[in-house]
Amino acid sequence: MAASIRDAAELLPSQGPITAFVFLNTLQALEGLPFAEGMKKGGRLFGCQVYLPEDRYREKLARGRILREDLDAELEEDLQHRGADVIAGLVTRKALWMAMLEFPLRFGPTEELQWFVAESDALQRLRSEMPDPLRQPFLNETRQWAMRDLRMKTSESGIHRHDVILQHNLFGDLLTRFGADNIEQWSDATWETFSLHALWRVCRHGAHIRDEHPTAAPLPVRHRDWMLRTTGEDTDHLVHEVLIRFCSSFADQGFARWSLPERNAGVFRSFTQLYGRANGVPHARMRGLAEELHRIERAALTPLESVLESLELLGVSADEWPEFIPATLLALRGWAGLLWQMEVRADRVPVPAPPGTLIEFLAVRLILERIALQSAAACHAIPVEPLSELRQVLAKKLHSPPPASIAQRAFLVFQLAQVLGWNAPRLFKLTKNEWHDLIFEIEAFSGHERRRLYHEAFERRFRVNSLDAIAVHAQRPAVRVKSPRYQIVTCIDTREESFRRHLEEVAPSVETFGAPGFYGVPIYYRGAADAHFTTLCPIVVMPKHWVTEEVALTMEDEHRRRAQTRKALGAASREVHVRSRTIAGGALLTATFGVLASVPLVARVLFPRLTSQFRRILGKFVEPPPVTRLCLERSEDPPGPENGHVGFRVHEMADMGERLLRDIGLTNGFARIVTFLGHGSYCLNNPHKSAYDCGACSGGAGGPNARALAAMLNDSRVRNILYQRGIEIPSSTAFLGGMHNTCTDVVTFFDLDLLPSSHRADYEFITRTLAEACERNAHERCRRFQSAPLNLSFAAAHRHVEGRSQDLAQTRPEFGNATNALCFVGRRATLRGLYLDRRAFDQSYDPHSDDSEYTILGRILSAVVPVCSGINLQYYFSYVDSPGFGAGTKLPHNVVSLLGVMNGPSSDLRPGLPWQGVEIHEPMRLLLIIESTPHAMRTIMARNPTVARILRNEWMQLAMLHPDTKEILIYRNDEFTPYTPITMELPQADSSTDWYRGWRDHLGFAQIRAASSSASDR
């Protein structure tokens, strides 16, 4: 039992506290299945959409984002030899499927279709989508048939007697209705109407077929669904009302002033305590709850026993568990998932949940469900004794509708007949079996399948475009920048793609690299002004080291003074926060100073940028002094958060430094300054802020990691060890850690006071070029913001993004990793100068420096594959079904328990990304392109089951680019097949700005001349 609950728990959203947003595949539990199957199962389990609506794909078809040839190729691949089968003597299967893809099929309840046929011009005008060449033959043949066969009462041409009678019965009155006497004078319009009437009748006649194996919709498993279907009453409403309130109190991290009584005793016990005693208030809808809890308490049932008892009382047999338990948990999946995370990742929340919380939650939930079912049944006069037979009782009341009615089937054929040019006489000749085949063939190609095919065609188009662009671009020799002015390492994040590109355009003598933004330094970090440690590394890693920031000794007094001021201010603001909600404090505050609140209110809403500048100036007086150091070296073992245990040993530093330098292939040709840039995002009024921070730092800002790595590599002892290991760092090289704010596009550096004065000029060059790159990057980002005019100057664009970050009313401070679609692992030189539209993760890797076991690539992929596919699929699902998988629109969001958001005053917790953050995304699986060989991939996949699972089941697409021959291979169905580029042309532009300006939508690839390493610095 406990095991099947744990299995079900894997399906729950794995979102922990929202302050450390973690990107994971929403359907991670199904990654063991091939993509298409996983999607089908996931869609069913969660009751959510897994692909876009068909119309959205058709829009893309109309706008050239999907081509007919893509659909054709996908059909070919999907159907193979089955595509040529002829259905009912009318059409090949492939042509039928193609028509169903290409032309929208309307469908609806029988009543609606009948209304549509009767009231619209469906029987007067041929569908406008009907191809022109089919129109005339369609009408002419019907006309001939009507003139020749229909008017004759008796058979003269030897048609079978039975057919004649049928024909007469079907169409006899039609001619009369249209005026058989003057049939020769009928206008074209009359003939069109007549043909459609005849066609509709034939279709309705033909649709009378018998289902040998009617595939009824699967029956619901939960009692609530039965109840909802038969009576229209949703018992979950009642259950959730109590459960949400209770769960939020249980999960609360200290927002409420009173905590839940007996919280530490666990969900089950505190619930029975709280609701188990009669409190003198009748609550008709929950009658019996107190007695039931009292009984359970007296019987001293454990939570697990209570679950078993409830299941028995509900009549759920053990073989139903694998279906019933997930369905029950998923009914309130946000809260259940949060409790589960609080239980299994207790390290991530200040107030964790004890082990077994999820089981206790299920026990409480089932008790509430029983009470709610009883109360709902009583309302609708349904016998509830015993409860275990409720589903059978309800089943008798439920008339499950037939899979499809005659009108529904007829209407489908009617629509298809028009676009494929089947007219009434042709369809009239079909035999019963042929009708049968035709209808089942149409029904077999369901909406889900059509959307799947469309989706794959969409991915194919993008894949073809990307691989073509890369094939062309890779023809240029991949050479590193000769004696670079400086080198810069950024996160692999898609947001840094444009940043790097602009930097390379501004200063072609700069060499850039990409690596996951925690830079191989997984730490718990506490800044000088921080109260606690935050985890700065990917969610899959548990850090072993602690790092703190300390203020330089000379500033110690100043630091202490300012910390005290901060503390006093903090205490005061806490008092205002809390007291303003109490009775006396609130009265005092509002009646005296309340009106003054209008000043910050008006200022912050109407003049956000000015106000924030003012606040920053004030903040200068209390923030920690500017000169600080990281406490990096440990004097005592083992590592820990206490004094002396903080930091690393020298050899550990050397290991980390070596590993990162080897990963990105920077083992020689060091410039005078090498900078590492962490990144984070600063924005206001945004509970989802951490979703914009560094994904490789579990939703933290990666500045400290970059700073730590730079400090380590500046250490001469570390350099000595590296020298022995074959990496010679010239003494003239200085490392510098920095931080890129992706929202305001500002770069700041740490430990500048340690930079040798000999490097002053180099540093000035860095700040100048970075400032310009930042402005241009902001400019490129602005093209996606509807509220930013397209004709902004660079500087104005930079001001615009700054304004966004400081605006309380701004729901889109930035777009994060939205539009991500590519991931490149290889040398920067291969892709440098290619416009990738902020869609690509870019990890540096030099295939020539790897060993025969592909150790480096292996460890790169072990982080890049899960992290990037997690980000990509989180965006995917949050986009395709925003209210279902995502967090929906953020406008009604309400922060609850300091852990998450819900809609309005009471709803399920909303994990996933809000709509405003994914709005511009295009959902597709990430295309991973690796500069290496299939052999390397096979070796790594054999070694790393996670990477193998994701790639083999195609939750991520994979292509290999050969480092030397530049041949491209695509990995599908566990095979590498060569890819032949379709075009060898690639547009060129002088600069990125030249290519993207004036355009809001997605952009294609282009070669940017200014970024090539041979161009000269501006």
């Binding site: 009543e111 009775i583 009646a591 206001l684 309400n894 609850v896 005053p905």
Partner: protein, 463 residues
């Protein structure tokens, strides 16, 4: 006052009241013809109305201060006039309405500017701003109303727009359900106000405040009603205020109103709408003076509400509900202040509370960052503060009190069990009678439509 002043005042009054009223058709009529107004136009239109109105009301204030006139009535005319009854439309600027008008303009204007960016690209952008203009007009009319009928007009506009804003996300069931709840409670309060106006006309033949509350300017008027009449009218008005200001026992709607987008929760339920009941009590305060018992009841209602709100707010785990119960607490105190006769204190309290609460609501999504910053400054976790638990209570009572607070005083459950259900039951019984009657008439089943099968939706994946 001199005639020149008079004319200027009339123009200014027209700007204050007419602007928001004009905004409704400007935004509403194009929508009726499916004409899509641009976001920029909508927000510009709203802003110009607010700025004009705000400047005009400041001008009125200045004129009133310089000319030492405490009451400036502007007659619009009779809507209905028959013997023994007239429905007079009149607006009035005095020491109560001018601060309220200024508050409404400042808060609505700020939130309008906020919403113009916050609601950017939202499909219901126009609908939101239309309802917002309806709300603004309602607020201004209620504040400046010189007769109880005029006040009722504004009152209705506020109610309608509020309920529709709660149900703004009408594609989800919860907002619609809660919107309906708010609407039902508002109807109760509307009915009470309407009855009050009828009783008033019956008793004094007047709906004009300057007649039945005395000619002296607010708050110095003396009512012409007898104590008996003042009590009965006062009680009805108190019921109206209870509904609108979420006082006990009708407090349950306020947290439910948090379904809408953040700006509407902020300004409408946190700051303005919720004070309307208190405003109404202030307006009729001469009646309170006439009847001591009325005052006692008002104080009791106010204090109960404050206590209820304070207890309930302590267990709320989400920021919007916590703020809304905090609002309930303060509104309770304000009502008690009115009952005790502290008119000016109550007025200042309303203004201060409105501003502070709006700021807090607008910043609600920033809660996590705020907590993070405060924790860093203090250097410790802001864990559950059990010091807030009442001392000297036994374990059992503490649990009882916690449950009481968690279930929001069971107020909604009690309403459902003792008001809603019996109410529905009556109609069900009548329905049963009717069915029997029609079955008998049609000699058989008279309601075949009830047997129509619910159409099964979601055929999408089937085909």
């Amino acid at each position: 006052m001199m005639d020149g002043y008079r004319e200027i005042m009339e123009w200014l009054g027209l700007i204050v009241v007419g602007g928001p009223l004009l905004l409704i058709p400007v935004l509403g009529i194009p929508a009726l013809f499916s004409y899509h107004l641009s976001e920029r136009f909508i927000s510009r239109a709203g802003q110009s109305v607010v700025v004009a109105g705000l400047l005009a009301s400041f001008a009125i204030l200045a004129i009133m201060l310089t000319s030492h006139s405490h009451q400036v009535p502007i007659d619009i005319g009779n809507w209905v006039q028959i013997p023994h009854y007239h429905l007079f439309l009149k607006i009035e600027f005095d020491r109560l309405s001018v601060p309220f008008v200024i508050l409404s303009f400042v808060l609505c204007g700020t939130i309008g500017a906020f919403a113009a960016r916050y609601m950017h690209r939202e499909p219901g952008f126009n609908r939101f701003h239309l309802l917002y203009s309806l709300f603004l007009a309602g607020m201004i009319i209620t504040s400046t109303a010189g007769t109880i009928e005029t006040l009722f007009t504004g009152w209705e506009m506020v109610g309608l727009s509020s309920a529709l804003l709660v149900a703004f996300y009408h594609e989800r069931p919860a907002p619609v359900r809660n919107g309906l709840w708010v609407w039902s409670v508002y109807r109760i309060s509307d009915a009470a106000l309407l009855l009050a106006s009828v009783v008033l006309h019956h008793a004094s033949g007047e709906g004009n405040f300057d007649k039945f509350l005395g000619a002296a300017s607010w708050p110095e008027g003396h009512t012409i009603l007898t104590e008996q009449q003042a009590f009965s009218v006062g009680i009805l008005i108190l019921i109206a205020a209870i509904g609108k200001s979420a006082l006990v026992p009708l407090s349950g709607w306020l947290p439910r109103a948090m379904e809408g987008p953040t700006p509407s929760s902020a300004v409408f339920y946190g700051a303005l709408s919720v004070h309307l009941g208190a405003f109404l009590l202030l307006r009729i305060s001469p009646l309170l003076e006439q009847s001591r018992w009325l005052c006692v009841i008002v104080v009791i209602v106010g204090l109960t509400t404050a206590a209820f709100g304070a207890i309930t707010a302590r267990v709320q785990t989400d920021i919007k509900c916590a703020l809304s119960f905090a609002s309930v607490t303060q509104v309770g105190i304000i009502v008690a202040e009115i009952g005790l006769g502290f008119r000016y204190i109550a007025l200042v309290h309303i203004l201060g509370h409105g501003c502070l609460r709006t700021l807090q609501f607008v910043r609600a999504p920033t809660l996590l960052l705020d907590y993070h910053n405060i924790e860093n400054a203090i250097g410790a976790r802001l864990g559950p503060n059990d010091a807030g638990h009442p001392r000297g209570l036994s374990e059992g009572w503490r649990t009882w009190l916690y449950r009481f607070a968690l279930e929001r005083g069971h107020l909604d459950d009690i309403l459902i069990d003792f008001v809603v259900r019996p109410f529905l039951r009556v109609f069900e019984i009548c329905d049963g009678w009717e069915r029997r009657w029609t079955d008998w008439l049609s000699a058989g089943d008279s309601r075949q439509s009830e047997h129509a099968r619910r159409t099964t939706t979601a055929p999408d994946d089937f085909l």
